[in-house]
């Protein structure tokens, strides 16, 4: 297959001259280079890069084909190459973002639309059935009741603040569904975070603790969430995540209310909460609206409890103060793990 030879992979960090070319190709196509992309598949023909597609973990981004090379099936080769690259990296469940007008183009890549923000962006995944299988699985855990609540926690790590939020929501609801963010992009691993949440909500009977998924605060649905401690971002881009929740997750479980803590410190989460009120309650949608309730954060001595604060205290090994902010299980975990915890968060 001689045609595939002119496709190759570049790492943005190692190839500044080629990235200049990629950037130019993207600019001509009204796209910006995304700094999170780890690898690009590029196609070089007659000395210049004529097509590119980037991969950020399991999300395909920055796809462009030079205008004079369209209509010769180059895009399908590009799609095959990027899907193959992802598979070599062990990633099979892929997402991508596209302008809605390019949806038919990516259908040819075997991607199916999940969520569209009209006129702005469409999120697609490379399976015609994955979201349905996921929702069917959720539907089996559906509980009857007038008020069915949901909370999504990263719990990095689980604090008394989280416990307070869960207790408040549980007291108001007939059943509560709690999700733990699955992405391993935080200081503490998913398994550790999940175990601490499980220990911390054990005393509540009418509650289901759900494993996280790619569809709920993941790198694919809400990339900004995982960048918040690395860079300053001016928009959180939470719309896709929230619309997925409203259109797929909430109807599957019959969720009527979503609970969040007020967020005094973290601008990304704060913005997310504001977006949540708008997109879950007000935006017109075929899916029923979900009431968003902000629960004031629990405080100790007048200072709101936050996981960010716990991580800050941890870098100073200030266990006396940490003990005031976290449940016993979390405290024991932190004491055991601390020597191995790196000094720089996230």
């Amino acid at each position: 297959m001689s045609a595939t030879r002119d496709f190759y992979i570049i790492q943005p960090k190692d190839s500044p001259p080629e990235m200049a070319e990629v950037r130019k190709l993207l600019t001509t196509n009204d796209l910006e280079l995304d700094d999170e992309i780890e690898q690009f598949v590029v196609c070089r023909r007659e000395g210049r890069i004529v097509a590119c597609a980037g991969l950020d973990h399991y999300t395909i981004k920055c796809v462009a084909v030079s205008e004079d090379r369209r209509g010769e099936s180059l895009s399908l080769q590009l799609g095959s190459e990027v899907v193959k690259l992802a598979a070599e990296r062990g990633q099979y469940h892929l997402f991508l973002y596209s302008a809605p007008r390019n949806l038919p183009f990516f259908r040819g890549w075997g991607f199916y639309p999940l969520i569209e923000v009209p006129r702005l962006v469409v999120m697609m995944e490379n399976s015609p059935v994955a979201i349905k299988i996921y929702c069917d699985r959720l539907r089996k855990q559906r509980r009857q009741g007038r008020q069915i609540g949901a909370i999504v926690l990263n719990a990095n790590p689980f604090t008394l603040g989280h416990r307070y939020l869960v207790e408040q929501a549980a007291a108001a609801c007939d059943w509560l569904h709690v999700f733990v963010v699955k992405e391993d992009a935080s200081l503490f691993s998913y398994d550790a975070r999940f175990a601490l949440v499980a220990a911390g909500v054990e005393h509540i009977g009418h509650l289901t603790l759900h494993a996280g998924s790619d569809y709920i605060i993941s790198r694919a649905t809400f990339p900004g969430y995982f960048l918040k401690e690395k860079t300053i971002i001016d928009h959180s881009w939470a719309a896709i995540d929230l619309l997925l929740f409203r259109q797929y997750i909430a109807p599957a479980l019959g969720i009527t209310h979503r609970y969040v803590g007020t967020e005094p410190f973290d601008p990304v989460t704060n913005h997310y909460n504001a977006d949540m009120k708008h997109l879950l309650q007000q935006t017109p949608s075929a899916a029923p609206p979900i009431t968003v309730l902000e629960v004031p954060r629990a405080s100790i001595n007048g200072t709101p409890i936050s996981a960010t604060e716990v991580r800050r205290l941890l870098t100073r090994r200030d266990f006396t103060r940490i003990k005031q902010l976290v449940p016993d299980a979390t405290f024991q975990f932190l004491e055991n793990e601390c020597p191995r915890v790196p000094q720089t968060a996230e």
Binding site: S73, S80, V83, W109
Partner: protein, 98 residues
Amino acid sequence: MKVLKEAIAGTLESSDLLVKVAPSEKETLDIVIKSEVIKQFGKQIRRVVTETLGKLSVSAGSIVIEDKGALDCVIQARVQAAVLRGCGSEDIDWRRLS
């Protein structure tokens, strides 16, 4: 034979197909076929896929196919490749597959 891990075979190009296999949670065999020629050849494609899986004795797995108008022998070869990758098979009786 069961699909134990995710695997792919093939391409998205014309006259080819991309086969994606993954373990199935409920130990069932689920086949989803998407094809540009589903109206003309959907039944035939499904028959080739089912027969190929049968010859490999695949009893559980999720099989998703994105067909771009591939010939039967191509479908057969791609399905075999994806399944064998997904089952981590080392010893393959190629004669059974012909």
